[in-house]
Assembly symmetry: C2
Homo-oligomer: 680 residues x 2
């Protein structure tokens, strides 16, 4: 891990490009730096010298009386190299470059950044940016480009400047704030992964939030998050085509496919969200004393309507409201009037008003029951506060008893209160019980976090990046050899050319057979595949037809595998530019077209992980024996996919590798066609 102490807790700082113009970065940075002048030396540098904000400005870095640990650059792109070099020359340990117009503007800018970064690294220094909005650290009283953000336990790493303000504002609404923020810009040197490592070591940061458009080394990001004891919430941009267009123009980002990001998040145990509000909502839940361990929730309401709505939204989000056991219902009933409903949702009905203690008792019993992973309290609590001082006090006692119940049970209590900013809500939040204003927020974030908890955080596998000794062509027979060699069974096959060779091959294999023409780009579409040839006549006829129409470089004859009781799947691997090789499993044939039902993991993946993935497909019931069919051998499918994933992870020369279809039967899995696309 690189030492980022000089960046976030500098002993001295210089602002190059400090300015008297109130509309310029040079002034905002100088103002921010001077606010920390009681903690550290602050030097303002402007090539014209003079007085800036009451301080005498130096005309160059070389003039400074001591070497500043941190140098912040608010200079035009043209002066980027020369200023960084000057900072390194006087011994700066960290540099922040606000300057825009470099890597994000194209290849030339990127090359300029790269050469500067080489010199920064050679000097043992670090560089944040360029094209960034600076940083802040509340505990160290550092505000350089990002000012006036609410203070709290969230560390935020952002590839967007405005988003720092938006997240800070949303956090403040939930009584939260930011411990430290880094605007990462073009990530020429320090990337999101390096910052996650650093934030994980910061004692003031209790949850790490990140907005990232370009992951650079995606596996390093995932590894840093996996290694962090501090939970990580990620808002990753560019999952849509329009989003990719926008990200490219915003930061020149090379955006990863959403499935690749999902795979990395699952491997690393990262909670992935889709909006700034979600980011803050998830942070609030991750800051709670206990984290939900599954999808089962009990809903407790103090008025019927909200409980009904909560139940509907929970189901829609894939959360479960299990029926409560007879025993639990009896013990709840003992606490409640006869008009209450003690199904799940539990409706306190008028009980809350008649007996305020019923809130804590009921919630406590549900939390301790072990029948649910989380209890969600919805409703009116907090609204009595305005009715009388006595009720206001009673409500605070209720909030205290709820917080105690959650704390003792070891399971999370989450609240959705329409009076989300009244004293009871504030007390709950202060005690680590998340409180949300809207039901869809409380449930949405529970769904995000519960999903992340299931089977995630296994590991972030490594893969080979240097070309290996593997030699393979891109032809069909080459692909078959490689894939069979990796242990994936394929339908028996003989190469042949002439009619008599083809017939001899079929005799060896036994009818019915398949005839495939070789050397065609899309052999099936071109008419280069004939299935189910029952005898020599049919085979000869198919061969003659292909020879005349396609004149291929050769043929293979393959055994026609019976498809009754079998399901077609697709297994394969491809490379994401940032996250590396991915393994993809999905339903094949006509299902692929209609369902687009695929699941993705980082390669290499173990068979047991892939098996879980396959069983998570929407169409998994086709494989597990719905409607009286025999279940197919999912383990063999997973083993085949795992073998391909090892191949792809070991050989960067393979851009894509695919077995499609892979026929899954009750007794195993066998590939009927195969393909390799070499990296260019």
């Amino acid at each position: 891990m690189r030492d980022l102490r000089p960046l976030f807790e500098p002993r001295s700082v210089a602002i190059v490009g400090a300015s008297n113009d109130p509309a310029k970065w040079g002034q905002w940075l100088a103002r921010g730096a001077l606010r920390g002048a009681h903690r550290r030396s602050v030097f303002l540098v402007n090539k014209r010298g003079g007085e800036i904000l009451g301080e005498t400005a130096f005309t160059s870095l070389a003039e400074l009386p001591e070497a500043p640990e941190l140098v912040v650059l608010a200079v035009p792109a043209a002066a980027f190299e020369e200023t960084v070099d000057a900072a390194l020359a006087i011994g700066a340990r960290a540099i922040v470059a606000i300057s825009a117009g470099l890597g994000e503007s194209g290849d030339e800018g990127r090359a300029r950044e790269e050469s500067v970064v080489e010199r920064v690294r050679a000097a043992g220094a670090v560089l944040l940016g360029p094209n960034c909005n600076g940083l802040c650290d509340a505990a160290a009283e550092v505000e350089l480009g990002l000012d006036g953000l609410a203070v709290g336990p969230i560390g935020f790493i952002s590839q967007s400047g405005n988003l720092c303000y938006e997240v800070a504002q949303l956090a403040a609404e939930a009584g939260l704030g930011l411990s430290r923020v880094a605007s990462i810009g073009n990530q020429a040197d320090l990337d999101a992964a390096a910052l996650v490592e650093s934030f994980a070591a910061d004692t003031h940061t209790r949850v790490i939030a990140a907005y990232v458009e370009d992951f650079r080394d995606g596996r390093a990001f995932a590894r840093a998050a996996r290694a962090s004891a501090t939970p990580v919430v990620l808002l990753a941009a560019g999952g849509s085509e329009a989003g990719q267009r926008a990200a490219l123009s915003h930061t020149g980002a090379l955006v990863s496919g959403s499935a690749a990001i999902d795979a990395a998040c699952r491997a690393a145990g990262i909670v992935r969200v889709r909006t700034p509000r979600d980011l803050v909502d998830a942070a609030q839940l991750l800051l709670a004393r206990h984290r939900p361990r599954g999808r089962r929730i009990a809903v407790v309401g103090d008025g019927g309507g909200t409980g009904v709505i909560a139940a509907d939204v929970a189901s829609e989000l894939g959360l479960e409201l299990p029926q409560l056991s007879e025993g639990l219902r009896e013990t709840l009933a003992a606490d409640l009037p006869a008009t209450s409903s003690i199904a799940n949702p539990v409706d306190l009905a008028g009980a809350g008003e008649q007996d305020f203690d019923s809130y804590g008792r009921v919630v406590g019993k549900l939390l301790r029951s072990g029948e649910v992973d989380t209890v969600l309290l919805v409703g009116y609590l907090g609204g009595y506060t305005h009715q009388s001082d006595d009720l206001a006090l009673r409500e605070l006692e209720v909030a205290r008893s709820l917080a105690d119940a959650a704390s003792e049970s070891g399971r999370p209590l989450v609240c959705q209160l329409m009076y989300a900013n009244e004293p009871p809500a504030q007390l709950l939040r202060a005690e680590g019980v998340p409180v949300y204003r809207e039901i869809e927020r409380a449930l949405g974030v529970l769904a995000y976090v519960a999903t992340t908890s299931e089977g995630s955080g296994r590991d972030v596998p490594a893969y080979v990046t240097a070309p290996s000794g593997l030699v393979t062509g891109e032809g069909y027979l080459d692909a078959r050899r490689l894939i069979e060699g990796a242990g994936v069974p394929l339908a028996e096959c003989r190469a042949a050319r002439t009619a008599s060779e083809v017939l001899a091959a079929a005799e060896e294999i036994g009818y019915p057979v398949v005839l495939k023409a070789l050397g065609l780009l899309h052999k099936s579409d071109a008419g280069g595949v004939a299935l189910g040839l029952a005898d020599a006549d049919a085979l000869e006829h198919a061969h003659a037809r292909m020879d005349a129409a396609l004149a291929p470089e050769g043929y293979v004859v393959e055994r026609m595998v019976p498809t009754a009781g079998a399901v077609e799947l697709i297994v394969g691997c491809k490379r994401d530019p940032r996250f590396g090789p991915l393994v993809v499993v999905g339903l094949g044939g006509v299902y692929a077209e209609v369902l687009h039902d695929v699941a993705v993991a980082l390669a290499p993946a173990e068979a047991d992980e892939i098996e879980d993935l396959i069983l998570s497909l929407r169409g998994a019931s086709l494989l597990t024996g719905a409607r009286g069919r025999a279940p197919v051998d999912v383990t063999s499918v997973a083993q085949a996919a795992a073998a391909l994933s090892r191949l792809a992870a070991a050989h960067p020369q393979i851009a894509e590798i695919e077995v499609n279809p892979l026929l899954a039967t009750p007794d195993g899995a066998i590939g009927l066609d195969a393909r390799i696309v070499p990296a260019v």
Copy 2:
């Protein structure tokens, strides 16, 4: 339409059960009534007389000096009948019954309600409740049970008391409020439909919002919404199993399936939402000058990150961000600095700060272009307000120019601003431009409303409720006769009993044939269906086997229709207890199981509407000729479903009717099996 003027604008009101206890309904109602004492006579009634809130209470309704138009009941359930009768006896025109413990508690309570309602109706009066929280009307200064709600253009009809407060509070946050609220409780007399009719005629109500658990007469609700010139937003509860459990215990509601509600909303042009916040968000959009007419949006941002996130979320919600035309991009580029992105999303980049006029110019050009249905502005606007008075003024000018651009273009502008409560946002809202705090809210509500606008509001068809002369059994041949008679082609069929009759039938039809045993509940599962019998031997053998195993009451022999190039569908009708007959179309066979891909409309439906429904199925590409297959005859499928829908709508004796599978081929559609379940 019944006259609800005495309910919402009474000339006099009496509170029966008025009380001095500040924790009782009788006091809350009395307080509220007295606040309107400058507008109308207010009488407090308590059987013990005395002084209540400074007024002398009457000991019975009979004592009052004049007949109150409206009588509000805060009496125990035991006194319900006698108090209603007393109110009718003195000539009350409207009654509000807060009293709980009646219809929601079971059959006995429901019977009591029904007999009271008969007398209310006979007297020409109306009854709201029982088991309700009362009502309010801001313009008439009526507050009876619902107090202190923010005032504005939303009329709210609610089957939950707490929700009235929650919706009012959420509305206030958006600068909105409530014109009139009715808590409908058990809807013993006045139901949601009657209230929609009445709210539609209220000049102070510009959008009608409703929370409904039980629709009673669902078609009447849909018809009232369809006839209303005021738009209707609906939060319907109980779509999930847990939600149904909760609704049943909350109001004894008979909850409709979510698909039935969706069908009614589409027919009536109702915007359906799923949470209270959504309800208010949608109301805000429907109050805008112009309503979005489709899914195409342009996103304009003043900072890259928010535009990227907006694009991703929009795509996820099914909205489209079309690429802008070359011509439009050129004219936008003329307004913007070179660093701006003029793809969609458009990123003003620094242009906003350098030239505030660019906001209005760019948004105006996009709105007028016709290339999108809606423009969404996202970002920082409103944040400059705190930097200087000059910037604060410039921001207000920007807001004004944006509002003008939207007003002139005839298309809606929607804003998502992180500074959603600053003066620019307030100005925009006041000018009818919706402003949301979070991007998922702005886009979520656009998706709801755009979806509603597409092909919805066609009509709410009527259906027959009185049993007709139709006589049909539930046997297979009865079902076939009825369905063929309605014009749905079924595979050619002959009834037979003995082996020789069966063989003779097959000779007439021609091999291959299907043999089906009659009179079995699940003939296919029981082994009572033999497909693809190629010749007399196979048929005889199948007949002998069924005779021995099943001893059925008879057989049919049917033509075996070739399935190559065909797709199996399911078409049928069933009855929702509240919304009446529904027509259902979906993919059949193994797809039905994996995709659960069905679409539902109110029956009877026209073939063209059903055709649109079929093409909206997720698996529609199977029908329209994906991957080089010939498209199947969707029109014939729609005609068959339309015929079944007419049958079901005309004959309440039919509980369910189904053709499954209906085989769709490029040349038509033919049913291969049929079923009728008579109503019990």
